[in-house]
Assembly symmetry: C2
């Protein structure tokens, strides 16, 4: 059984890991969000792709939920001493990855090719693809004005309410090589329990990817990022409440209208009508068993 | 007594330190070479300015002669694992400086302003200026073709013979703010025992700086980088032999024709005719006493 997974950062990376652990890495293609990519002093940082890469390589800092384990922070500290802004924190080992990626991008290599090379260098056997090689950036409209994704999310701690989301460059963005092929040939399309607006939204903002989901041959299933109407991490619940009018499964389904055949929800949300076929399980991926249970629920959808 | 010093990397930084230790930092203006600046994955690295900065701040790795003491190399190692070229080695703390500088340059701050801020952040009281805020890059013609300075110097270990030196951008480069003022008002202009071709040459390639030296009000003195016809470090002796026909004081003077009033040479070269007023001392700056002795020889020139 082959699976394509649309994924944001942490939730996406955990389900990616769960799937690779359950069906083996070679049958998993992860399509990662690049809407929160940013440049730090010109270095190209792809936070979601990196979280997935580090997770699948087993080097993610699980405590922090981002960056590498056994990290050092000497560059950040020196930059701060030298007067630089360091609200977007880059560890030393993490910086090495950004140096390698940026050098390759500046040499003309597309992001997807760099990502494939990096995954190989890290011993990752699953296929990891950016949604697009083109520049696509997420902006959020807030009462404080429009903010770039990372300005809002990291610098201001996603405290500003979001009234709208805009994907700069999405109109011209083409799917990265391999994405449409994966979506068209797998046995199951899965959408990770990532933020529907700012993690999955940028992927679906690429018109050909959205169309591939609309015209899917294989069934598609999303995993709700909510447990008991609350997001496990991050502002998905607040965004659903403000932008969709509620934090029940139905509002998650509404984010994926016409794109999914089933929604996996947590036991805490079992009583709600999701407006689509619902699979109930425990969705918190707290350990290997919990990951496998969720993966099996997802993988059971085509049956 | 106020001194302006034209300086390359290590030799320049050591004489800069010697002068600040002898007359106090506030009366020393160092005009640093930027011809060996480079971009690493888009990060702007200024090796000579950094060597001077780190030296004056007391954080240079004295053993290595470049970069910071107590350095870690996690970014470099991670970049190498990720498949990047790492022949130009950047330590983690050093990277922090490059991040801060690059961020400021990308924000539109001129290199001279960034350098002033960085010097202040490091507690350096001497004035440190790049020769120019404009892009100026050193290229060397070798039997293997024309090479960028760092490609030749670091990557290929300056093993290729040099037939000519070219300073890309020099035609349009203006002196950085403060440079002409310093050269026009100090009591002494000094040229450090740096490589005349590739360390001092790029500074003198800025036409207004060369003119300021030609029309100097204050006396100018160079310190020969040779001891007994050999360079203390680097390829200055081989370049003098190939490009000037010898490695005696006269060939050093010839590099600064019309620009200096005196040459400080080592005791080992005392018997040679330098073609200009000669001050003989021990020029190797091996410790604080040796630095002071050389500084005093230099500072004695106006007398």
């Amino acid at each position: 059984m082959r699976v394509a997974l649309l994924a944001g950062g942490l939730g996406g990376s955990r389900l990616a890991r769960a799937l690779t652990e359950t069906i083996g890495p070679r049958d998993v293609t992860v399509v990662g969000n690049v809407g929160d990519d940013l440049e730090v002093a010109g270095l190209h940082v792809s936070p979601d792709l990196d979280t997935i890469l580090y997770t699948l390589a087993g080097v993610l800092d699980e405590q922090r939920g981002w960056g590498r384990a056994d990290e050092t922070w000497n560059a950040r500290d020196a930059a701060a001493e030298a007067g630089a802004e360091t609200w977007f924190q880059l560890g030393d080992r993490d910086l090495g990855l950004h140096l390698a990626r940026t050098e390759a991008l500046r040499g003309g290599e597309p992001l997807s090719a760099v990502t494939t090379r990096l995954a190989r260098a890290f011993g990752v056997e699953a296929t990891l693809l950016p949604a697009t090689d083109d520049r696509l950036r997420t902006w959020v409209s807030t009462p404080a004005g429009e903010l770039s994704f990372q300005e809002w999310f990291v610098r201001r701690g996603h405290e500003d309410e979001v009234d709208a989301v805009r994907f700069e460059g999405a109109g011209e963005a083409r799917p990265a090589p391999g994405v449409l092929d994966a979506l068209g040939t797998v046995d199951l399309i899965a959408i990770a329990p990532s933020n529907p607006f700012v993690s999955i939204g940028p992927i679906l903002a690429v018109a050909e990817i959205r169309r591939a989901l609309e015209q899917r041959r294989a069934p598609a299933v999303a995993v709700s990022p909510l447990i008991g109407g609350r997001s496990v991490r991050g502002p998905a619940d607040r965004m659903l409440a403000r932008l969709k009018g509620g934090t029940a499964p139905a509002q998650v389904t509404d984010c994926y209208k016409g794109l999914i055949d089933a929604l996996v929800v947590d036991e805490a949300d079992a009583d709600e009508d999701a407006g689509v076929r619902t699979i109930v399980t425990r969705t918190l991926m707290s350990d290997a068993n919990a990951r496998r249970r969720l993966a099996e629920a997802v993988l059971g959808v085509p049956v």
